[in-house]
Symmetry: C2
Subunit: 323 residues, 2 copies
DNA sequence: AAACCCGATGCACAAACGTGCAAGGAGAGT
DNA sequence: ACTCTCCTTGCACGTTTGTGCATCGGGTTT
């Protein structure tokens, strides 16, 4: 037989690996591979799909180092963050835009993940889309940690948030740490009390020593409110106070103004999300943004120094640097 | 417009980059991309081909680290070299085998190249095939150095060897150092004299400080003689002496026995290739072998410790570890 | 200015590919 | 033993992709 034999691992993986070699390294057609593997061409097609999904095959697009892409360079020099601009036609709808940014972000994220890492993950529509497109990259001893609670007066939010977390865990073969608390507490004292519970403080401590954080941005007063703002997490008084305080956005239910400041925003005392200090203590902070409605929010996050790596669609990127 | 604008670099590259992002990172069809770029689908197809050829897109196949491939593991533990086994059906002809190994080798080689490196390159049918499939990887300040002369009583060999060298140079945007000397001298004194010429000694010195060497293997007495042995480089007396000395193969016209020894092989005094000591002083020594006719030669090279990285077809690999 | 060359373009066709579907098979539960 | 479920397979079809060819436009040579 053909064979580059491997032992132990599932024959499916074994075949996928061989097929990937033949297809991507030797440019055989799927037909030819099917013949070599004694199966049908369609199986080979599926095999290759499997190989891509599970990270056996890695495809990178790298811009020539000589000339970094202009927008990315502009953003870097103006805001001091590494930018990944996702090309999207200008007339694209916001949903498509999100979908395409999420798709690219999911692939870029693979480069940030490695063994023995802990990664903090927020939730929201951006993170949900992102999680749906993750490519597998096997690691050892990694942990995915939920950044902020997802419960609200109507639901525990666990299903929604854990679905996202689980997908991250599966993609990176990492253990998952959920954070079963309300997104925003009614009473700050309850939060303080809960934070003393060992089961909870354990997670909080993990949040304090993350290697990477991944999050989208909320934009309370923009055209299309994010998940946080329509899910019943906040009541009318909360909204009013946010507006009064001049809030333009949030990261993991922690709110900030356009200049990045947070002082005197009462809601943050009751929020389950990590404080700005904790967040900025994380070495790599990946922010995923799609759509111009989040522009103001993005400016705030950048001003606050919350972001080290920005993944953003080209339209919003252009608005950001103003041209 | 769409745009992720870049400046300076050729619009072709710019478009290829965008197309690659849309195709490989966002899974659009070429049709859709053609629409976004305002061109025809066929142009996009060619654009993507260009992107792959020029290294804008990099595709890697990685075996799960958990379970390295069996043959590769066997070879590593038995011979202490990193092996890349190229799957090839057993009944493949030797030419196809060579072609397929060369194709894979060309892609693997990309991972060994980087800026500020000097790479020694041999010539021969294997290297020729390999050079034809190299993928571009732009580097700075790299050098390709010819390992051994290619002139013989019939031709200067420059065309043949330089074609190979040039392709390496082009692929890695490196400067090329040719070595315009006979493969094998008639008179060792001439070699000594020439080695004192500054134009030549300059190259010899570069050979002494290489970071990587890439070479195939010769097998003088195997079924299909390699390029060296039919090109008129050696006369009948030479052949007789090689046979008498028990030679099984060569690297860059430096000959060795099956046990890796070279003592008393007179021809080596007259060879233009780097001595074993020089070769083994190079940190990474990549050997590309296709076909069982080179098995004996391969054993010799391994015994001599000439190889750190081996790229070999599955059939020969299996013979090598004996099962 | 004419002739020429070279690379880029779109067309049209054939080759290669992805996927819904129905059939088959292995294993778990009854 | 039977059924039910879940996964895998190959087929058939429509879609997507590669490429030979004719064309065109810009730049160079004569």
């Amino acid at each position: 037989m053909n064979s580059t034999s491997t032992a132990g691992l599932p024959p499916k993986t074994r075949d996928a690996l061989t097929a990937a070699q033949l297809y991507y390294l030797q440019d055989l057609t799927m037909d030819a591979i099917a013949h070599e593997l004694h199966t049908s061409r369609s199986s080979v097609s599926r095999l290759l799909g499997h190989a891509r999904e599970t990270g056996l095959v890695e495809i990178q697009v790298k811009s020539p180092l000589d000339m970094p892409r202009q927008l990315e360079g502009d953003i870097r020099s103006e805001f001091g963050v590494v930018a990944h601009v996702v090309p999207v036609p200008d007339q694209t709808s916001d949903v498509d835009r999100l979908e395409r940014v999420a798709l690219s972000a999911a692939r870029i994220l693979g480069g940030f993940v490695d063994s023995n890492m802990s990664m903090g993950v927020a939730w929201g529509s951006t993170m949900s889309a992102l999680s749906r497109h993750l490519l597998a990259k096997p690691t050892h001893n990694s942990t995915i940690v939920q950044l902020n609670g997802a419960a609200n007066p109507r639901t525990t939010g666990l299903l929604y948030a854990s679905e996202i977390l689980q997908r991250f865990g599966a993609a990176y073969s990492a253990t998952v740490q959920q954070f079963p608390v309300p997104a925003v507490f009614d009473d700050p004292a309850t939060k303080a009390a809960l934070w003393r519970e060992r089961s909870i403080s354990r997670v909080v401590e993990m949040q304090n020593s993350l290697d990477v954080a991944v999050f989208g941005l909320g934009s309370p007063f923009a055209g299309v409110p994010s998940h946080v703002y329509i899910g019943g997490y906040l009541d009318d008084d909360d909204f009013a106070s946010l507006r009064a305080a001049g809030v333009v956005g949030d990261v993991a239910t922690v709110f900030y103004r356009e200049d990045g400041s947070t002082d005197g925003i009462g809601l943050n005392e009751r929020s389950s999300g990590p404080s700005m200090e904790v967040l900025t203590g994380i070495a790599r902070r990946v922010c995923v943004v799609a759509g111009e409605t989040k522009l103001q929010s993005l400016r705030g996050a950048l001003a606050a120094g919350l972001v080290t790596d920005l993944i953003v669609d080209s339209g919003t990127a252009r608005m950001l640097v103003g041209n």
